[in-house]
Symmetry: C2
Subunit: 373 residues, 2 copies
């Protein structure tokens, strides 16, 4: 039996959205779900208990970072990543591919894998499909992502095709490295850039491997939003209905809703936590740049309608003071708010699917948020 | 009726230690007590709820820092410091004197007060006894400290005498600025450096003002520990028994115990929180420099006998990883541990006084800690 299985509770009649339960070795996750990012075995500034309290039961962590520091062998000796970081919820690990390819001139790609220099100490390192998978086996994540190339945008057809085909060959090597287990599930990644025929080719090849889940990569990498939605429109229907679908690196509120409507079950993004530490809050009514001088004397919460710990107890003026003074507690309060905002948004989205109100919910949300659509 | 009153529950028979309850407008504090420092309206990295959970019910905050940023008038408009920072426990504010005098060449002392340049933007600023007191009135702290000069060490007799006499003249101006209220209590500060006759003169003058509490300043400023203990030996008996006694800026475990045995009721220090963020833990068995390589593969807690959140859930290896990676959560876990260590130490000290076991407790603690005494 596969480690990870999606139970579909309901299919929306007017959109491609699905309401589901993702069963993992570390608990059941209601889908569609947004996964906070815990790059270095910690979701920056917040505790596991706080994550649970704000409704996050599944996080993403980064193979590249943990491989370099503290090292996957150390985490294995600690009893795996869950135990190391005191997190009993589900964990998805990326493959390190995205980070390695982002190194630009510091990396060299061959059929075997990618040679690169560590951003920490400049040391020469190597990641391959086998190695990236072995690292994730050592980490013990519930979902292991295949080692792929996240094709940049823009990229010409020839490069995109070559890259997607290599990604597929690499996926087969990942699958050989991670035999089917009840503890870890391998997800394949559909690439193909913004080319419909290449996306189709990639989706067809990859789904033939009958993996426990599928991701869409190479999106939200600088292309116009409408282009991403179009890729989702023609690619998602090629993926098997019964398997979870994960849109990598997507986390703005509008993209989450548009993704769900196109049949996506899982999302992750550093955006909410990153902008939080910089003093920008996400709210139902648009972004609030708390560090702006206009909030210096504002003793109201970030969002008066928000039920998070931050909004229940602290004012914009106080949080602005903390952020200006570079106080850790400011980063914490902002992170809690933004993560609560997205987990709460996904909860409302699930509720809307359950009540056959998703398009209406979308319309109201976009109006409140101030999106011009 | 005074805002702050000490109820003495028991006097130790073999030492000068006292067990008490400090009644404040924001709750009762068991004494002797260690106060964590929340410089900029936050005890760095931890929440008010975490402070309460680890046993801290009274904190110190800094007039100098809050005056410069975000400004005491803003905090007053927020409803006072307690409301601004969501802390319903007691707050003692220092007067800003220590920070201003520490500025060295950037400040100029006159009888009127101290002119100085802000460390934030270089702007010209002025603090006087009246101004420092008015700021603390705006902040609404439970205990207001008099604006004094913390005489440096070493300092010659002539300078020390002149400085202590000015501190006394300033104290009278502070008292005129803060009339007796039920909301805020003014504490005077005994100075006089390491000179017995000057300490006596200062203590006699200051106690004649019949203030709700007295502090000892100008100690733990670089002098040998034995010298500080000697000053306590001859100064503390000059202070009225019924009033709380506060030893400013002291927070190492041995100094806390030695201070209690000499009749001190209150302490504060940035040490536990500062070294925490740098990766050094205080434990019953001495310091543990968690960031050292020797702990890279150590999957035991910082202190296996410790009951704090950090030690109950995280290993030295994990915390070391977080500190090396400069992760906020590492600072948080270390801060929680160190503050828990000191609040727990004071709890044990109070228990020892209650059970007539303070000298024995001291002996055992020093043996465990590895002090050579």
């Amino acid at each position: 039996m596969a480690a990870v299985k999606l139970e579909i509770l309901k299919k929306d009649t007017r959109t491609k959205a699905r309401l589901g339960r993702l069963h993992t070795p570390h608990g059941m996750i209601e889908t569609p779900v947004f996964m906070p990012v815990g790059t270095q075995a910690t979701v920056k500034s917040v505790s596991p208990e706080e994550l649970k309290a704000l409704g996050a039961n599944m996080i993403l962590s980064n193979t590249y970072h943990l491989f370099l520091r503290p090292g996957h062998e150390l985490i294995k000796r600690a009893g795996g990543l869950h135990k190391f970081m005191n997190w009993d919820g589900a964990i998805l690990t990326d493959s390190g591919g995205f980070q390695v390819f982002s190194l630009g001139d510091l990396r060299k790609i061959t059929e075997e894998g990618v040679e690169f220099r560590s951003h920490l100490d400049g040391s020469k390192q190597f990641l391959s499909p086998e190695k990236a998978t072995e690292i994730q086996i050592a980490l013990g994540s519930d979902i292991v992502m295949a080692f792929d190339e996240c094709t940049p945008y823009p990229a010409n057809r020839e490069y995109t095709k070559k890259s997607a085909e290599r990604t597929f060959r690499w996926l087969k090597r990942c699958k050989n490295t991670l035999p089917t287990t009840e503890k870890q599930a391998l997800f394949g990644i559909v690439q193909g850039g913004m080319y419909e025929d290449l996306r189709k080719q990639s989706a067809q090849e990859i789904t033939e491997l009958d993996l426990p889940g599928y991701a869409l990569g190479g999106l939200s990498v600088g292309e116009p939003k409408e282009m991403m939605y179009e890729v989702l429109d023609y690619t998602v229907p090629l993926l098997p209905e019964a398997k979870p679908r994960y849109l990598m690196g997507v986390g703005s509120p509008d993209d989450l809703i548009e993704g769900v409507m196109r049949g996506i079950d899982m999302f992750d993004c550093v955006l909410p936590t990153r902008i939080a530490r910089n003093g920008t809050a996400m709210t139902r009514f648009g972004k609030v740049v708390v560090r702006n001088a206009t909030y210096a004397d504002d003793f109201t919460p970030i969002d008066p309608t928000c039920s998070c710990y931050t909004c229940q107890n602290y004012s914009r003026a106080y949080i602005r003071h903390l952020i200006k003074a570079d106080e850790i507690f400011g980063h914490r309060l902002m992170t809690i708010h933004n993560l609560h905002f997205l987990t709460h948004l996904m909860k409302e989205v699930r509720q809307a699917i359950a009540e056959d109100q998703l398009p209406e919910y979308r319309k109201q949300f976009f109006a409140d948020y101030g999106y011009k659509k």
